[in-house]
Amino acid sequence: MTQAERLYYRDDPDEMLLRPLDGLTLIYHRPSGITHIVDSPVPEILAALSHEPLPARLLLESLSADYDLEGEGEALDNLAAHLEELCALGLARAR
């Protein structure tokens, strides 16, 4: 395990309310009161996150088990980018 690996997790699954809409997903984030509209793979990524901080590569493994993901090398970069964006929005956390 590399020492600089970022670990991602979620505080509390109850803090988000999800609703499907027109093929997209609406998220009401209770702590901030902000409504987000997101598309795949964001809801799937959020579902894969838990209380336990995990590096992106392990999250990718768990997502690959359930979903078809394209291009091994790119997929990890894409996932990491999504995770960082979710952290910036406060929907996920990292350490």
């Binding site: 209770r30 702590p31 901030s32 009161g33 902000i34 910036a88 406060g90």
Partner: protein, 331 residues
């Protein structure tokens, strides 16, 4: 009259049973003008109220609850931006009361996020916040220079997406003011809340609220601030520690005044008020039954006074003139 009725209800909520429609309309308008409506609702919990009154108070509580959640979220975001740099984030005012579950936080309408950071880390903090999506509110170079040179805080920042403001303080009073509180001691003696946030010690919380009420601001929002102080004082067991700390910060006289005013308006004992105390009481009770700030003239006096405290007299006239030309008016 209406503000006095408000103060008496806050002091003794069981008096609510005697009020008719006219009094309710008046006291709720005054409470709203003083941002004390949700506080009043909390104090009246468990008291039998007419349905339309209960409906308005419930709405106010709903708003206060939402503001509290948003304030704590802003605090979370500020900590996310600053904690990785090892900058201690000390919450001030409403956000602090809410985060720590203090009585002063009950029904408190919280506005901007106020935080205190060490002066030596101010520039770093500024860069980190700008990188995390906050941006400047006032691009005016005159205001900017004024803030950086004289004030106790950075010029206000607002978050680009969330549209919420943050005020980053490095001490609690402007650098030109006469009392010079010991900001370093305040930060050193902060209380950790877990997570990456902290608040001032219980004595320093009172000192800060007093500085804000009496030595800094123009007393708009004064009654609400005095209520904060009353709640904070009720958490303190050892008054001598407070007096000692107030002396350290050069705030002994203002803290003593605040204690007298609290006792007079919200307490049970009768208090000897001096002339200046009485002027403060008049200003604090100036909201009327239509939600107006009745004593406009007196209000002007306090606005000028607040600037006097902030800047040496020679600089004052130039500053007010420039602000006047740009269309600023005391509210």
């Amino acid at each position: 009259m209406s503000a006095a009725l408000l103060a008496s209800l806050l002091r003794a909520p069981q008096g609510a049973g005697r009020l008719g429609a006219r009094d309710w309309n008046a006291v709720m308008a005054a409470a709203r003008a003083e941002r004390l409506l949700a506080t009043l609702a909390f104090r009246l919990e468990g008291v039998a109220l007419p349905d339309p009154v209960r409906a308005v108070l419930d709405d106010a509580c709903f708003d206060a609850e939402r503001e509290k959640r948003q304030a704590l979220w802003e605090a979370d975001r500020a900590a996310a931006a600053l904690a990785p740099l090892g900058i201690p984030v000390v919450l001030l005012k409403g956000a602090a009361y809410a985060a720590a579950g203090l009585k002063a936080g009950e029904g408190r309408m919280i506005g901007d996020l106020d935080i205190l950071v060490p002066r030596s880390r101010l520039e770093e903090a500024e860069r980190a916040l700008l990188a995390a999506g906050w941006e400047w509110v006032k691009p005016d170079p005159y205001d900017d220079a004024y803030y950086r040179q004289w004030m106790h805080e950075l010029p206000p920042l607002i978050h680009r997406e969330r549209d919420r403001m943050i005020d980053v303080h490095h001490t609690i009073l402007p650098l030109t003011a006469r009392p010079v509180p010991d900001a370093g001691a305040m930060i050193a003696d902060r209380v950790d809340l877990g997570g990456r946030l902290s608040i001032l010690s219980e004595e320093d919380r009172v000192c800060h609220a007093v500085a804000h009420l009496l030595a800094d601001g123009d007393m708009a929002g004064g009654l609400r601030n005095l209520w904060d102080i009353r709640c904070l004082l009720s958490d303190i067991e050892d008054i001598s520690r407070l007096e000692h700390r107030a002396a350290l910060h050069g705030l002994a006289q203002p803290v003593a005044r605040a204690r007298r005013l609290c006792e007079h308006l919200f307490g049970r004992a009768s208090v000897d008020l001096g002339m200046v105390d009485q002027m403060f009481v008049a200003r604090l009770l100036s909201a009327d039954g239509w939600g107006r700030n009745g004593r406009r003239l007196l209000g002007q006096g306090f606005y000028v006074r607040s600037h006097l405290l902030r800047m040496p007299p020679l600089m004052l006239a130039r500053h007010l003139w420039t602000k006047w030309r740009k269309g600023h008016r005391p509210a």
